[in-house]
C-alpha cells in the first residue's frame, strides 16, 4: 500500500518535470522562431526599401520631412520673421543643408539604407503628402494605426470562419465519403481559383444592386450610431458581404483539401485498431484523426492566410472598407509615397505575425516540437 503511494508520487514528479521541460522547449522554440522571423522581416523590409529607393523615393520622403520641420521651427521664430525675403530663404536653405547632413543624406546609399530600415521597422515614416487620418493627423503611423483595427476585424472574422467551417465540413465530408455532398464540394473546389474581391462584385450586384437588402459597402451606416449595440449590428450588417466573398472564394477548396487529409489519416492502422476496440466515432475523430492531421491543416491554413492578406487591398477597395487596404488604394491614387511605403511594411509585419502565430500553434499541436529539441517540422 505504502509502496504504491511512493511510486505514484515519483511518477507525478517525473511527469511534472517532463511537462516543465516541454514548456521550456516550447518557449525556446517560439523564441527561436520569433528571432528568425524578426530577421526575416528585417530582410524583407530592407528589400522593400531597396526597391522603393531605386527611384530615390525614400530620399524624397526624408528631404520633405526635413524641409517641413525646418520651415516649422523657423517660421515660429519671431526674429526670423523680421528678416528680408532673400535673407530668409538663404537662412532656410542653409539650415536645411545642415539638417540633411545631420541625417546623413550626403552619405552613400548603403549607409543610409540602414537608417531607412530602422525607420521603416519602427514605422517612423514621417508625414504623408496629403492623406490625413480621421482625427486630422498627417503622421503616417497615426493614419495606419487608425485603420488597422477595421482590417483586423474584417479579416479576423473571415479567417476564423473559414478555419472552423472548413474543419467542420471537412470532418463531416470525410465521414460521408462518396456521398452527393462530398462530390458537390469536390465539384465546387475549382471556384477557389477566383479571388474574394471577384465574388464580391457579384455579391454587391445581387444583394445590394438587385435586391437592395444589404449595403453596397462601407463599415457602418452613416452617421455611425452612438449606441454600441446598434453600432455592432450595423457593423455586422456591413460585414456580411465581404466575409461571404472571402468564404466563397476559399471554403470549398479548403474543405476539399482538409477532407483529403482526414481521409488519409483515417485509413491508418491505428484508427482501425481504435475502431476494433469499440471507441465512439467522436473519440476516434478527436484523438486519432484530428490530432495527427492538425499540423498539416495549420500549414495549409498558413498558406491560405498569406494569399488572403495579399487580397485585402482589393477586397477592401471593392467593398469600400476603411482598412489599410483601402488606404493603400487611396495612397496610390494620389501618389502618397510615405503612406505607400508604410503600407508595404505593415503588410510584411502582418504576414510575419500571422506566420509566427501559426508556428506557435503548430508547436502546441505537434508533439515532436515538445519532445525533441528544436523540433523537426513540416
Amino acid at each position: 500500500m505504502l509502496q504504491t503511494e511512493v511510486d505514484l508520487q515519483e511518477v507525478e514528479n517525473v511527469e511534472r518535470q517532463a511537462r516543465k521541460q516541454a514548456t521550456v522547449r516550447l518557449l525556446r522554440y517560439s523564441a527561436m522562431k520569433l528571432l528568425a522571423l524578426f530577421f526575416t522581416v528585417a530582410i524583407g523590409v530592407y528589400l522593400t526599401v531597396l526597391i522603393a529607393n531605386m527611384g530615390g523615393y525614400v530620399d524624397e520622403i526624408r528631404r520633405g520631412q526635413i524641409r517641413e520641420s525646418v520651415a516649422l521651427t523657423l517660421t515660429t521664430n519671431p526674429e526670423f520673421q523680421k528678416l528680408a525675403e532673400a535673407e530668409r530663404s538663404k537662412i532656410m536653405n542653409e539650415t536645411i543643408a545642415i539638417q540633411e547632413r545631420r541625417y546623413g543624406l550626403d552619405q552613400p546609399f548603403i549607409l543610409r539604407s540602414f537608417a531607412y530600415l530602422k525607420d521603416a521597422l519602427t514605422l517612423n515614416l514621417g508625414f504623408s503628402d496629403g492623406i490625413t487620418s480621421d482625427s486630422g493627423s498627417r503622421a503616417v503611423r497615426n493614419i495606419i494605426l487608425e485603420r488597422l483595427p477595421s482590417t483586423l476585424v474584417l479579416f479576423g472574422t473571415a479567417n476564423l470562419l473559414v478555419f472552423f467551417l472548413a474543419l467542420l465540413f471537412g470532418l463531416a465530408l470525410s465521414r460521408s465519403y462518396g456521398s452527393f455532398t462530398d462530390k458537390l464540394v469536390l465539384g465546387l473546389a475549382p471556384t477557389s481559383s477566383a479571388p474574394g474581391w471577384f465574388y464580391g462584385l457579384f455579391l454587391i450586384l445581387i444583394f445590394a444592386g438587385l435586391m437592395g437588402v444589404l449595403p453596397y459597402g462601407g463599415m457602418v451606416s452613416a452617421p455611425p450610431p452612438d449606441n454600441p449595440v446598434e453600432y455592432g449590428l450595423s457593423l455586422a450588417q456591413h460585414m456580411i458581404l465581404p466575409v461571404l466573398a472571402v468564404l466563397i472564394s476559399t471554403v470549398f477548396l479548403t474543405t476539399y483539401k482538409w477532407r483529403t487529409f482526414f481521409l488519409i489519416y483515417s485509413s491508418e492502422d491505428y484508427v482501425q485498431m481504435a475502431k476494433a476496440k469499440g471507441l465512439t466515432d467522436g473519440m476516434i475523430e478527436r484523438r486519432y484523426v484530428l490530432r495527427p492531421t492538425l499540423p498539416n491543416i495549420i500549414t495549409s491554413f498558413a498558406l491560405l492566410l498569406i494569399t488572403l492578406w495579399g487580397g485585402a487591398i482589393i477586397l477592401e477597395t471593392v467593398f469600400n472598407w476603411p482598412g489599410i487596404g483601402q488606404l493603400y488604394f487611396r495612397a496610390i491614387g494620389v501618389y502618397d509615397t510615405p503612406v505607400i511605403l508604410a503600407n508595404v511594411v505593415v503588410y510584411a509585419y502582418l504576414l510575419a505575425i500571422t506566420v509566427f502565430l501559426l508556428d506557435f500553434i503548430y508547436a502546441l499541436v505537434d508533439p515532436r516540437v515538445r519532445v525533441a529539441d528544436g523540433g523537426e517540422k513540416r
Binding site: 530582410i43 528589400l47 527611384g55 475549382p190 474581391w197 471577384f198 444592386g209 453596397y216 510584411a348
Partner: protein, 453 residues
C-alpha cells in the same frame, strides 16, 4: 502516341476536364484570331479614341441581349449620313448662287423606350458664308414641329436636347415641364405622361447654301439604349474591343507568368538540392523571407513609382516568385530524384553538375509540374485584373480588368449598368475555371493517391 491516347482516355473520365480543355482551346484560338483581326495599333487607337472615333455610338448603352430580359423593345441607334447617300436630296436653285438642298430622313420607330440622345452633325465646305440648316420634325400622327436651325461651321453639331427654343415648343406640345427633346419629340400627346408614339418619323433638313461650290454633309443620329453584343461604356466605346483584346492579354500574362515562375522555382530547387549544404540552406531561408514579402503591395509600389507596363509587372511577378513557397514541394521531389541510380550513372560518366541538373533532374520532374502550372494560370489572370482594378493596368492596352475598373469608378453597380461589370467578370471566371478544372483533373491523374479518395 500511345501515351497520348492513354492520357486522353484518362482525361475523358473527367467530364469537367473536357469542358476545361474546350474552354482553354477556345481562349487560345481567340488569342490568335483577335490580334489578327484587330491589329494591336488598331486596338489601341480604338480604345484610346475619344469623340472622333466613338461620336456616333450611344453612351452607357446596354448590349442587345437586354431585349430578351425586358418587356418592350429598347431602341437601337438609328443613323443617316448624307455623305453615304442617305436622305434623297432634292436640289432647288433659289437665286444666283443660292441653293436649297432638302434631305428627308424617314425611319420607323417601333420601340417602347425613348432614344438616349438625338444629334445632327454637319460638315460644311464654304468660302465666306456659312450654310444654314433648318429642320422640321414630322411625327407619325402628322404633327409638324420646327426642330431647330443653325449656321454650320466647317464642323459643327446640333444637339436637340440642348436647344432651349425646341424645348419650350415641346413643353407646349406635351404639357410636361422640362421635357428633353429626345423624349418630347417621340411623345404621344394623346396619352397621359411620357409615352412613345410608335410609327414612322420624318426629319426634313433643308440646307441653304449661299455659294456655288459650298456643300454640307449631314449625319443624323438617334442614339439607342442598346448597342452591339457588348454594350458601350461612359466614353461611348464599344466594350467588345476590350473584351476581345482581353483574351490574348489575359492568356499571355497568365501563361507566361505561370511558366516563368514554375521554371525558375524548379531550377532553383534543383540547384539547391544538387549542391546541398549551405546553398540549400540559403535558398530555404530566402524562401522564408519571400513568404513574408507581400507580393501585391510590392507590385503596386512598383506600378506607382516606375511604370505600369504589363510586361514590367510580369517581370516583377516572376522575380518575386523565384523563391516562392513551391520550392519546398519541388525540393522534396528532387531529394528523391537525386538518389536515383541514373543520376549516379550520369556522374560516373563525368557529366557536369549543370548537365545533371538541367538534363537529368529537371526533365524527370517536368511532367509532374503540369497540374501545378495549369492551376497557377487563373491566379495570374486574376492578379492582372486586380492590378487593373486598382488603377494600375497597362496604360494603353484594353484588358478585362480595366473594363471592371472603369465600371467601378463610374459606379456601374450603383447606377445599374450591370452588363459593364458582368461581361468582363464572366469572361474572367470562364477563363479561370477552364484552367482550374483541367488543373484539378490533371492533379488527380498524376497523383494516384488523390484519385482513390
Amino acid at each position: 502516341m500511345n501515351q497520348l491516347r492513354r492520357f486522353s482516355q484518362q482525361i475523358r473520365e473527367y467530364p469537367s476536364a473536357v469542358v476545361g480543355l474546350i474552354i482553354i482551346g477556345l481562349l487560345l484560338i481567340g488569342s490568335v484570331v483577335v490580334p489578327i483581326r484587330i491589329p494591336y495599333s488598331e486596338a489601341v487607337r480604338l480604345w484610346r479614341g475619344g469623340e472622333d472615333v466613338w461620336g456616333e455610338t450611344p453612351r452607357n448603352a446596354w448590349p442587345k441581349w437586354k431585349n430578351w430580359f425586358v418587356e418592350g423593345k429598347l431602341p437601337e441607334t438609328i443613323r443617316f449620313s448624307t455623305a453615304e447617300g442617305d436622305g434623297n436630296p432634292v436640289v432647288e436653285q433659289l437665286s444666283e448662287g443660292t441653293r436649297e438642298v432638302k434631305y428627308t430622313f424617314e425611319f420607323d420607330f417601333p420601340y417602347d423606350e425613348f432614344p438616349s440622345e438625338i444629334n445632327i452633325f454637319a460638315k460644311a465646305r464654304y468660302n465666306e458664308k456659312q450654310p444654314f440648316v433648318e429642320m422640321l420634325w414630322i411625327t407619325p400622327d402628322g404633327r409638324e414641329i420646327r426642330a431647330g436651325e443653325f449656321s454650320s461651321a466647317p464642323s459643327s453639331s446640333f444637339r436637340f436636347s440642348q436647344d432651349t427654343r425646341l424645348q419650350r415648343r415641346l413643353e407646349r406640345q406635351t404639357g410636361i415641364d422640362g421635357v428633353s427633346a429626345n423624349k418630347g419629340l417621340f411623345d404621344d400627346p394623346e396619352q397621359e405622361g411620357l409615352q412613345v408614339l410608335k410609327g414612322t418619323y420624318i426629319l426634313e433638313a433643308s440646307t441653304l447654301l449661299f455659294e456655288d461650290d459650298s456643300e454640307v454633309d449631314l449625319t443624323f443620329v438617334s442614339y439607342g439604349l442598346i448597342h452591339g453584343w457588348a454594350g458601350t461604356d461612359h466614353r461611348r466605346r464599344d466594350l467588345m474591343v476590350a473584351l476581345l483584346w482581353g483574351i490574348p492579354i489575359a492568356m499571355a500574362f497568365g501563361l507566361l507568368a505561370a511558366v516563368g515562375t514554375t521554371v525558375t522555382t524548379m531550377s532553383i530547387a534543383a540547384i539547391g538540392v544538387w549542391y546541398g549544404g549551405k546553398l540549400d540552406g540559403a535558398i530555404q531561408r530566402m524562401t522564408e523571407v519571400n513568404a513574408i514579402l507581400p507580393l501585391l503591395p510590392i507590385l503596386i509600389m512598383v506600378g506607382t513609382f516606375y511604370s505600369r507596363s504589363i510586361w514590367l509587372m510580369l517581370g516583377v511577378v516572376i522575380l518575386l516568385s523565384i523563391f516562392g513557397l513551391a520550392i519546398k514541394n519541388y525540393r522534396a521531389i528532387f531529394l528523391q530524384v537525386k538518389e536515383l541510380p541514373y543520376i549516379e550513372a550520369a556522374q560516373s560518366y563525368g557529366a557536369s553538375d549543370m548537365r545533371i541538373i538541367f538534363r537529368y533532374m529537371i526533365p524527370r520532374v517536368l511532367p509532374l509540374t503540369i497540374p501545378d502550372l495549369i492551376s497557377l494560370v487563373p491566379a495570374f489572370v486574376f492578379l492582372e485584373a486586380a492590378l487593373a482594378v486598382l488603377g494600375l493596368g497597362d496604360p494603353v492596352l484594353p484588358t478585362w480588368g480595366k473594363v471592371i475598373e472603369d465600371a467601378f469608378k463610374q459606379g456601374a453597380l450603383f447606377n445599374g449598368f450591370y452588363y459593364w461589370i458582368l461581361e468582363p467578370a464572366i469572361l474572367l471566371m470562364i477563363a479561370g475555371f477552364g484552367f482550374a478544372l483541367v488543373g484539378f483533373a490533371l492533379d488527380r491523374i498524376f497523383n494516384p493517391r488523390l484519385r482513390e479518395l
